[in-house]
């Protein structure tokens, strides 16, 4: 097991370090506990827009300077926003870790928010939306299936936001967002790589501890009523050449004891050429061209999803029934020992290959602390996967894959 050091600064900022000196590099994930789920109607897309604003300069770092400095060292820096969190990640030669920490601290405490920067990034985000949603086959359908799957705005709306909300975001809104969410107690800083523990903890203290803790906020309480009736919807997509199918079931959130059962079911159905759905739908019966999906876990309401692209003459409704039959098979037939062992080995290999990438490990570590409050969560993952039994799978499938609890979206071509 890797050596992990964790500390919490007096202002609540959590720091987690995992040394690995196999190459003289470090990766850093600065994970903010703010994602699109905190947005309200009318302010969709703010978390993501704000991620862009974080690259527009701060008191001691000019606009563009962060990237220039990181690139000049051969490093890499970027950000990403999801429903749950905003992640700023960076890789650097290990001897320059102090620079990375200093730049992260500077933009947390003194971001340069200006009308000009906002306008510029608004245009960039609108272009991003045009490219990823409006110009992409099935892009609008991906937005639609989420809107249909949740009753609450928090998870129902797209992370990138609605065009009109992005267009109307004002500088005051953005400043208020920064004050509310970009607070030390709302951050997990994880560093993996060739890191000197004492020196790095000293630097983290020097750079971050002076920031005052923000005002306490009530915890987000998000839940969904249990779906009692299947709803079937149909949309037309002028960009798509082939029909497609989305099917969503409600699923358990992070922290639920059945989380690991879902991980096993996902691999069993979707991962690898011998997985049940790929084998049946794509290889043997050719009823789908592409099948993806699996467990979309959140800290709030979560989903188990299918997305399939069908042949031109494919029938989405028929494929939805095949999918439901495969889910019911999980209830009717206990999964054999060999198949369970196969899933464990697949997950073990994935985990080991995943450990090659320092950035991935840093993000995984910060997520473990933010979502599970457990820096060792990732290390215990395989042990918990190995405890999942065929009976667990039957129980969870019987409880959660109710044929009357589905949201189905059929996409037809124009």
């Amino acid at each position: 097991m890797a050596d992990i050091h964790q500390t919490t600064l007096p202002n609540g900022l959590r720091v987690v370090l995992c040394p690995d000196d196999s190459v003289p590099l470090v990766a850093m994930s600065m994970l903010y506990d703010v994602g699109s789920r905190v947005e309200e109607a009318g302010s969709s897309g703010f978390a993501h827009l704000f991620e862009h604003m974080m690259f527009q300069g701060s008191r001691h770092v000019e606009k563009g300077e962060l990237m220039r400095r990181v690139h000049a060292l051969g490093g890499h820096a970027n950000g990403s926003t999801s429903r749950e969190r905003t992640n700023f990640y960076m890789s650097l030669p290990s001897h320059e870790l102090g620079l990375g920490l200093w730049m992260e601290a500077d933009r947390l405490r003194s971001l340069a928010l200006s009308t000009e920067n906002l306008e510029n990034q608004r245009q960039t985000v609108l272009e991003e939306r045009l490219q990823r949603v409006d110009s992409t086959p099935y892009g609008e359908a991906h937005v639609k299936i989420n809107e249909l799957s949740y009753t609450q705005f928090a998870y129902a709306h797209p992370v990138i936001g609605y065009r009109e909300d992005i267009a109307s975001a004002g500088l005051d809104d953005i400043q208020a967002f920064h004050e509310a969410w970009y607070r030390p107690e709302n951050v997990v800083l994880a560093i993996v790589g060739d890191v000197e523990i004492e020196r790095t903890l000293d630097q983290a203290h020097e750079l971050f501890a002076g920031l005052p803790r923000g005002e306490s906020r009530p915890l987000l309480q998000l839940s969904e009523p249990r779906r009692m009736q299947t709803s079937v919807h149909r949309v037309r997509d002028g960009l798509a050449h082939m029909p497609a199918l989305f099917v969503n079931h409600q699923a358990v959130p992070y922290g639920d004891p059945d989380f690991f059962v879902y991980e096993v079911i996902e691999t069993l159905l979707f991962r690898g050429p011998s997985s049940r759905l790929i084998r049946r739908m794509v290889i043997e019966e050719s009823t789908a061209v592409q099948v993806t999906g699996g467990y979309e876990a959140h800290r709030g309401p979560s989903l188990f999803s299918l997305f399939a692209v069908l042949p031109e003459d494919g029938e989405p409704a028929a494929l939805a029934e095949v999918y439901q039959l495969e889910l019911e098979r999980l209830v009717a037939e206990p999964v054999g020992e060999q198949e369970l062992e196969k899933v464990c080995n697949q997950l073990r290999a994935n985990r080991l290959f995943g450990r090659e990438a320092l950035l991935g490990r840093a993000t995984s570590l910060s997520r473990s602390v933010l979502y599970h409050n457990d820096a060792l969560w990732e290390q215990r993952y395989l042990e918990r996967i190995a405890r999942v039994t065929a009976a667990d799978i039957q129980r969870v499938a019987a409880r959660d894959f109710d044929p009357d609890g589905r949201v189905i979206l059929e996409v037809v071509t124009a």
Partner: protein
């Protein structure tokens, strides 16, 4: 309360890093094996690399290579298709097959305990594939469906048209699949292409990971004994060097929400002495988020979400291209901004600070590129494929640091002068019409084509 420092903490002393050493052995049957020991994690990657690829496709059967790439996973002498899939998944083994224009690869990644299995599978997939006719029928249908899906992606199609515009009928200009080619390819075509590509005399086995060279040789002796290095198929000649004339290609896609735009020029093979200087030029132009294109077109003007350039060099030629997607109302400004940046670079206008920053990035990022099994095995393959010196990766950072202002200015002027540029814009016919006067200023004849015609 502590005062926040106005400058970053002092850096500590940089630590040395060297590319892991490669041991090359030649087996008694003539097959070359390169082993790179990287023991940090108990995993290995095995690659059979071949110095041949889709080049050998019959022109009206474009897509044979793609079908071969897929059929290679449909079983070997030891396993039928389903058994192979189960066998791999049960051990967490990943199998990859790739048939490019000038090379092909069978790669297997596995936990260290399955090293013997990984070598055995890579060998059987490469040299003893079943290539069953029944699987071709299934894969053909699937390939046609994927082909259909791909033709709806405007950006991807704009890239294909860019290659076609630069290379014409040269193999590098061909799409991976055409509808007609996929329909025409027979199992005999696939088997002939396989024989042409998977020729042991034009191959190398690369093993990277938690292994010792002697152990690999031992496994090979036990599992790959029947392999012969003698040529097994007819000799062939490489294609002539590609040539192109400047032109502006307007690709019509009714209903497109954005316009995908690109500009490019033919460059050189990877082994050309100008390669690293032009790679530096590419980084300055559009190699990342601090490049000229990104900072000017995205960060300053907000014209696009992403704009990058890339240098792609193969065995017989190469190209440098830049591309982006923009909203219809920004097309005019985007043409002006992209054209101004290309024109500036074409004159060799590079500041010393830009050269320093690009060199620092390329030098500093190399340990990252070479820190994983996939990266090291891909670099090892490139060295073999392009016949680069054995020490190429050990010397790589020093070679980059030796590049001068004269080198980059000369490379930029030589390869990116305005009279070498081809332009492509894919979008709705109405938008292309609206900006026709702007497109006409770009140099070279303007031609209009229908988007799918290249891949029908």
């Amino acid at each position: 309360m502590m005062t926040f420092p106005s400058s970053p903490p002092d850096a500590s002393r940089p630590k040395p890093w060297v590319f892991p050493s490669t041991v090359v052995r030649t087996l008694s049957n003539g097959v070359q094996v390169a082993v790179v020991r990287m023991p940090a994690l108990p995993i290995v990657t095995v690659r059979w690399c071949f110095l041949s690829g889709r080049l050998h496709e019959v022109p009206d059967k474009t897509g044979t290579g793609f079908l071969l790439q897929r059929l290679l996973r449909h079983g070997t002498a030891d396993f039928n298709s389903s058994d192979l899939a189960r066998h791999l998944d049960r051990r967490g083994i990943r199998l990859g097959t790739q048939v490019s224009v000038d090379s092909a690869v069978v790669s297997v990644s596995a936990l260290r305990e399955y090293l013997g299995e990984a070598i055995h599978i890579a060998n059987d997939v490469a040299f003893k594939p079943l290539l069953p006719e029944s699987a071709l029928a299934v894969e053909r249908i699937r390939a046609l469906q994927l082909h259909q899906q791909a033709t709806s992606q405007v950006e991807a199609m704009a890239n294909l048209w860019m290659s076609h515009s630069l290379y014409g009928d040269h193999p590098y200009g061909r799409p991976v699949t055409t509808r007609a080619g996929l329909k025409n390819a027979s199992i005999d075509d696939l088997r002939a292409l396989h024989a042409q590509i998977c020729d042991p005399s034009r191959s190398m086995l690369i093993v990277v990971g938690d292994v010792e060279p002697d152990e690999v040789v031992d496994v090979l002796a036990r599992r790959v004994s029947g392999l012969k290095a003698a040529p097994s198929c007819a000799a062939w000649s490489p294609p002539p060097a590609p040539t192109c004339q400047p032109q502006v290609l307007l690709v019509e896609r009714p209903g497109a929400e954005q316009v995908a735009m690109g500009v490019g020029a033919l460059t050189m093979p990877r082994s050309h002495p100008d390669f690293l200087a032009l790679r530096t030029v590419n980084h300055i132009l559009g190699g990342g988020a601090s490049s000229r294109l990104f900072t000017e077109l995205r960060e300053r003007q907000g014209l696009t979400y992403g704009v990058y350039s890339q240098l792609d060099c193969g065995l017989w030629g190469g190209d440098l291209t830049a591309s982006m997607s923009v909203a219809p109302d920004k097309v005019g400004r985007a043409i002006g901004a992209l054209s101004a940046q290309m024109e500036r670079m074409g004159t060799g206008d590079v500041a010393p600070a830009e050269l320093d920053a690009a060199t620092d990035y390329l030098v500093g990022s190399f340990p990252q590129r070479a820190s994983g099994l996939a990266g090291v095995s891909s670099l090892s393959m490139a060295a073999w494929l392009h016949q680069l010196p054995v020490s190429v990766w050990r010397d790589y950072q020093a070679t980059l640091q030796a590049i001068t202002m004269d080198d980059v200015e000369a490379a930029a002027r030589r390869w990116l002068s305005p009279d070498r540029l081809c332009w492509v814009a894919a979008g709705s016919p109405e938008v292309l019409d609206k900006y026709l006067p702007e497109f006409q200023t770009l140099g070279g004849p303007v031609q209009r084509v229908e988007m799918a015609s290249l891949v029908d």
